[in-house]
Amino acid sequence: MTRGLQILFFLAARIVVLFVLGLNVRRREWLPEHGPAVIVANHNSHLDTLVLMCLLPLSKLHLLRPVAAADYFLANRAMAWFSLNILRIIPIVRKPGERKEGAPGADPLAECHAALAAGEILILFPEGSRGEPEKMAALKKGIAHLAEKNPDAPVVPVFTHGLGKALPKGSFLLVPFFCDIFVGEPIRWPGDRAAFMEMLANRFAALAAEKAFAPWE
């Protein structure tokens, strides 16, 4: 039942994403075909999760697990049901002080490990929040811990541009823009966390420099 609803929802989402927005995807073939794998992207908009989930074929939908903030996505019962059953998020409590033993999102890394062990594909936003639209913030290090514990899972960087223009934080009005989705070369675990974070930051910098984006201010 929820699986059927999920497929219906993402069919509708695909129509909106492809028609209202329109994507220019470079190197789609680098996206993971199976788990375990981690897709990491910059975060500008609520559309990010949805668009990334629409990049893979519907037959892979059951493998996708976006990691999302519990304070927002589990804010009320309806939202929580939608987040857990349709988006199938792994909730994460962003402030360590608010994590309660046994509550959802209390040990986000453990759930991520379990998902990867089960051959799923995680979607992560290492900037931590959407922040200023179309500006990249420093990457948080949780992703390095995750990669260290799961050296077999490739980490695929994906840089998106335009989604923050179409639906920035704090707005409910969707304005159509073509969006760029640049997939970077998957990263294999290099052996230590500092080297991993440097590689990741470099990949994102290179992807962001691939095109001169139209100014937005």
Binding site: G22, L173, V175, P176, F178, A212, A214, E217
Partner: protein, 314 residues
């Protein structure tokens, strides 16, 4: 001629376009075979895209007028979205951009309704006056003039200009009660505009040496332009009896006008791209670039041809 194999002139014209497409595809296939050492991938993807575009256009054309109007509205929407995605925009203007998008279905509704008076003024008068007002409400005056100027220009080019092509479908032509008269004129305009693009490109590739405006578009040459102008005019005279009420002088004039205006539309969009530092307006049509790269010439030929028809025959 109209009785040929029981087809209407319009269907015959569409069949002719398919014949040209098939012939061109055979030439491309032969080129690939005869010159395997050269890279023909762009030519191949261009040809494949032509199949898609002509199939879509034929389907809409044969099914209904309304569907054709909807198809043109979609083309306007995609072109306008491409335009807004490549130009600098201001965050404060998001709401205004949304209003500008909303004007597309409204403007195309006037076409479906056949209301010429409103069609002719909605964007150039009402939207022209409304958009700067909507924009000043955010009270961000820095960059105001540039923002309102670029927005209006894009709306005129992608929506209002192109909209004229669709209005041909409902334009009453004097002394002609054939409901397909408008469709014939639209087909004539679109076919000649696209044919002229290909003709100028081909003449330019074969004999081009003297550039016309090298800073804007180094590949546009006098040889390509004049060769295209001549070919398009000859074709315009030849096919006019099939789908238009034109005598040969009018057909020749419209051929010359479409060839010249198409060229100007093409280099105008080239100038915009050069200003913005982009090569293509997008990546929607493989081998062609964006949708604006394909319809740039049509945005100039459509309003001129429309008023030419209206002046002489409506």
């Amino acid at each position: 001629m109209t009785q040929l194999s029981g087809m209407t002139p319009l269907q015959l014209a569409i069949a002719g376009i398919w014949a040209i497409l098939i012939l061109a595809s055979i030439v491309v296939f032969a080129l690939k075979r005869l010159q395997p050492e050269r890279d023909h991938s762009e030519l191949v993807s261009r040809t494949v895209s032509w199949w898609g575009m002509i199939a879509l256009f034929t389907a809409a054309f044969l099914l209904s007028h309304t569907l054709s109007i909807v198809l043109f509205a979609l083309v306007s929407f995609l072109a306008f979205k491409e335009y807004l995605s490549m130009i600098p925009t201001r965050r404060a203007d998001r709401r205004v951009l949304f209003w500008a998008y909303l004007s597309i279905p409204v403007q195309y509704y006037w076409v479906a309704d056949g209301w010429y008076g409103m069609f002719a003024v909605f964007i150039p008068v009402y939207m022209f006056l409304f958009l700067p007002f909507a924009m000043l409400l955010s009270q961000q005056t820095e960059g105001f003039l540039k923002a309102v100027g670029t927005l209006n220009w894009g709306l005129m080019l992608c929506v209002f200009s192109l909209n004229h092509a669709a209005f041909l479908l409902v334009l009453p032509v004097t002394g002609n009660t054939d409901p397909q008269a408008g469709a014939g004129l639209l087909l004539y305009l679109v076919f000649l505009t696209q044919f002229n693009d290909v003709a100028q490109y081909t003449w330019g590739r074969l004999f081009g040496s003297k550039p016309i405006v090298p800073v804007v578009s180094p590949k546009k040459t006098w040889e390509g332009f004049l060769g295209g102008l001549l070919t398009t005019t000859v074709v315009a005279v030849l096919v006019a009896p099939l789908v238009t009420p034109f005598d040969w002088q009018q057909a020749a004039a419209s051929g010359l006008m479409i060839a010249a205006a198409g060229f100007i539309g093409d280099i105008t969009v080239s100038a915009v791209k050069r200003d913005l530092g982009v090569k293509d307006t997008g990546s929607l049509i493989p081998g062609h670039g964006g949708i604006m790269d394909r319809i740039d010439s049509l945005t100039f030929t459509a309003p001129l041809f429309f008023h030419f028809v209206r002046y002489f025959h409506a």
